[in-house]
Symmetry: C4
Subunit: 270 residues, 4 copies
């Protein structure tokens, strides 16, 4: 009985976001995640890592043990442990603590490279932050509503990139940096998205004409995802307004800041 | 009689997308197209092509014969063979198999270059994929509805590019990379579309002022196609959501508050 | 009397766009303008100009005399000659023929440079094309309606550019290419508009942090002109719809393709 | 009594924008601010500063004394001096005159660098201009209404930059310019915002694939702030157009079909 009570209380603190204790736990966790991410970042700066090598090692193990304790507690107090472990955040929580332990075992000849890779994986801890962005709801719903159209759009972009990339490979050829079709496609994506590094640029007149066409294409199809999302967002935000209903005349469509019904003047609640 | 029946059944499988057999055929065809495109891409990567030269040759001939068989079957079982051959996809189907055969004939001194060019043309096979993107309807309709406005916009961009390009040619001159007006126009398109390779950049103070004006112009007219398309998309998507159909003339696309069909005047129900 | 009649008829052909003769004249004039612009462009390509020097000279004089004749005829047959000469297109028409004549007089020591500059000015002939784009009306009206907001937006961009440019000048300094505040402002405009040539890039850590902030600012305020114009365009396009009114029930808001009133079913005219 | 009257009149001229004297004062002040900013800019151009060193010094002291006098007068005639001094513009006014005085005191060994830094701070005087842009109201209100969504969006961009930056650091490594995770994040921001300097570019095939994914992500999430702001702007502009005001509580911003004030419930007329 008391054990169940402890489990329940822990569950409220760790998974809940309503009680003061739950809110405090979330704040502490977010701070810990951000600090650990900063530590991993600093560890990658060579002169800093050489100077504070030991301190960074201590910090890394401190956060790893902390997150391990958190992970085990979550498994213990979750209403359905197995469901939590298979959930998106359960897997993220596990992945964010594994690398430090794995770095202990794999210390062979090429350990430097592997450790770096494993360590860096811990940066995915940052994904845990997404959980706390409750404001993101309207955005996410709009994106989900437009995901099929966005998918069609991306297929079009990829087909266009392939066609333009192949054309540029034929027109410019390996002697001007377009060494293969995949590399030409990379160049086309750099161009169509208007990033334009300039590491590979068309040198011939025909190549510059084709490149100009690719740029103008990219410039005009940049409008498509914007249009899709804007139309969806406008609908979502309108729906948020429509959600409010007057208890007197049953009409809806009131603004968020409205205190009285705009049709009958009755007070609005909630 | 049985021959007509076979033709009808083939037609259903190859051109239809409703029956299970038709859907399976489409899936197989899409996979084949994607695989053949990947083969052409890999063929352009020098070290890969040297290693697997023979295998790539076999794969190319396999797909070419497969698509030839498909093309001939389509001609045979189409309800109007001549109409199919002149249609957009009929021409794409033909173009996508021609290069491999042409490469057999043109094997002169400069055969390497020509074969590469012919081979690459086969990548237009990827255009066949567009046929399968039925989700693209709303997007395509919005684009068609706004095509006149987009055309006016592109003319404006080209006029602006010509004016800015000429100005930069005069201001900077050949000694700073602006060797001719066409090249200056290429630079202006690179700048206005915000791609910005950096292969040619203004060096003089006046040139940098003109370039800044070109950038700010591009930055603000980038809004125009977005605005046009968003406005059209919002209308299209609202209409789609309603999906009201007239019982008399079977046409749809009526507004939410419409009581009569806007095409035949019959009353709309529900 | 006959002279007035000739003047009237000429006026209809040259200024009018309704009669067949007026349309034909416009088409011929557009073609002539485009050809003369192409000639000026080719003249700037060195190897081409050396090869066809005499031909290009002949073409230039042909078009200059043609446009001079057109200009004089316009003055002669305009209902108010002085008003035409002071109008925007009257001035453009004059400017587009002047350079060739001026090049005859100014043939001093540095004639090469000046002639080039004068010749290039003729490219403003292309501005005459704008007259023929009657489709541009909705776009232009939306832009005029939002011009005050766009102006405020541009002031904000310039202030931001000045602030970020000064910051970068202090942080990076002349040794990393930021040789003066005006040049730093040029760099900031290149960055905020997301053009990003890469001719000047931040080298210090603090400089890269400030640059990242400038980029994210540019990335998010790119939304402002789009938002303004989209909102205006949506209103304009809605107004176009509202314009149609049913003669039976007097209600408006019908689609462009509607043939019957959606409220009462009566036929729509015009 | 007359002193209070003078204070009142000064207050009207300096803080007010309604009377002719107030408007004239504002115009003179804006001109002075712009001129002083231009002087600071020219001072940073080396050859110009060497040529007109004395003149620039005189101009700087002239404007500094002018703005000091203005600042002291503002403190004197403000209705609540302490409130003005702590306000945003009060602090800006102070900061914009401090550097020149501080440059007098700190003239040690490294004075050149510090003076430059202090001088440049005076450019924040330009921020005072914002006060005069009353047109900016709709824009600012739309931005405030969407600030929570924009904040969520920026958090997403930063998380994505961290993830992509770490991935690129592992994939490309220090030998291709990705010397540390912070620098990789800088590169990712340059790429996602489609700026694309090209000072650091992916060299390996995997790196180019990851970079392409980052570009396409940036290309499509560029739509999010636009969508948010457009939806808010459309609402704001519609409301502005209506301009309906409640006679009871004097609040405006009511919908076109509202019959009662949404704030106090009183009936709306006309």
């Amino acid at each position: 009985m008391p054990s169940v009570s402890l489990k329940e209380r822990l569950n409220e603190v760790i998974f809940g976001t309503e009680t003061p204790a739950g809110k405090l736990f979330d704040m502490v966790l977010i701070t810990a995640i951000l600090l650990s991410v900063v530590a991993v970042m600093l560890d990658s700066v060579i002169w800093f890592a050489n100077l504070y090598h030991l301190e960074l090692l201590w910090i890394e193990w401190f956060f790893t043990l902390l997150f391990t304790a958190e992970y085990l507690t979550r498994i213990y107090c979750a209403r359905n442990s197995w469901q939590y472990m298979r959930s998106f955040y359960g897997i993220v929580d596990l992945i964010s603590i594994l690398p430090t332990y794995l770095a202990l075992i794999f210390t062979g000849a090429n350990y430097l490279m592997i450790i770096r890779l494993l360590r860096v994986l811990r940066i995915f801890r940052i994904l845990k932050l997404v959980r706390y962005l409750s404001e993101a709801n309207v955005l996410v719903r709009s994106m989900l509503a437009s995901r099929r159209k966005i998918f069609v759009f991306f297929c079009t972009v990829l087909v266009l990139s392939t066609v333009f990339g192949s054309l540029m490979f034929v027109v410019e050829g390996p002697e001007h940096g377009f060494t293969s079709i995949p590399k030409s496609i990379y160049w086309t994506i750099v161009t169509i998205t208007t990033v334009g590094y300039g590491d590979i640029t068309p040198q011939t007149a025909i190549g510059q004409v084709v490149a100009s066409m690719a740029m103008l294409t990219g410039y005009s199809i940049i409008a498509v995802p914007t249009g899709i999302l804007t139309a969806e967002l406008a609908t979502e935000m309108q729906r948020e307004r429509i959600g409010r209903q007057c208890r007197n005349c049953r009409k809806s469509g009131h603004d968020r800041d409205a205190e009285h019904c705009k049709y009958c003047g009755a007070q609005l609640f909630e």
